[in-house]
Symmetry: C2
């Protein structure tokens, strides 16, 4: 049963993550000023794939545990916010709104980590790399916003 | 506790649903050929708001119940797919891919409904209007795709 749950949570992760392929960085992002510590583009899909495996593992472990209500509700919230950032940042090119979404995601991931930990410490620990990565992504979003004050959001096509 | 869970699930619904405000239908959608039974634009946010209340209620009822693992995993999957359709259809204007996402969403909603029902029949029943609405949305996506064979996806801006 835990493997079925793992597969379902992993499918949820890849549904949210498919926005990364649908709204790729492209020329607009390449042309932006970025801080010196910006991770290379190839690292993002690699990191996310590893994080998805950890997130699905954490979800499955807690799904088979008693008293999992809070952790399960928060797991749903964080995956809904996770899939929102890429369309906002790379689709609409709205960097300020992207930072707001990332801040909400960070808070949801931190809350989920604590709630998971209360049910099963391994599940909570599996969310630590995710929280670290979202922290880096938030710092990157903030830096890119500050370094490119004149970047325009995407215009609507006629 | 159930009200806290309700609030968290509702926040997940509105995170997914915020894509509706971020990628509005606009001129492109207005200009498409649509079937005679197309619901008016104002009905979509009204219907979704009512559906979100039902979805959050179903999630919260099952979150406080034992043996909820499958239903909770599937609830996460359906909300991740829910937030994906609008950026694909209205953001990228890829109607075929939109139909694939909607088909996956329909299957996930149907599976979630069954899994919820096995834990708590009221929670399962709260997903029935959602499944009906996604069926209508799927039929609409299919019809619009068929009626507008020459519609182009959005081009990437330079």
């Amino acid at each position: 049963m835990i493997w079925l749950y793992f597969g379902i949570f992993l499918a949820a992760c890849f549904a949210a993550g498919s926005t990364g392929g649908l709204f790729p960085p492209g020329k607009w992002y390449d042309a932006l000023q970025k801080p010196s510590w910006t991770p290379p583009n190839w690292l993002f899909p690699v990191a996310w794939t590893l994080l998805y495996l950890c997130m699905a593992g954490a979800g499955a472990r807690v799904a088979v545990s008693p008293d999992n209500g809070l952790a399960m509700a928060l797991w749903s919230l964080q995956i809904a916010l996770n899939g929102l950032w890429t369309p906002v940042f790379f689709g609409l090119r709205r960097m300020k709104l992207g930072l707001i979404v990332l801040s909400a995601l960070w808070a949801a991931v931190a809350a989920t980590m604590v709630a998971l930990w209360q049910v099963d410490w391994i599940a909570g620990a599996l969310f630590v790399p995710y929280l670290c990565w979202v922290s880096v992504a938030g710092a990157l979003n903030f830096s890119v916003l500050r370094l490119n004050p004149d970047a325009k959001p995407a215009r609507e096509e006629a």
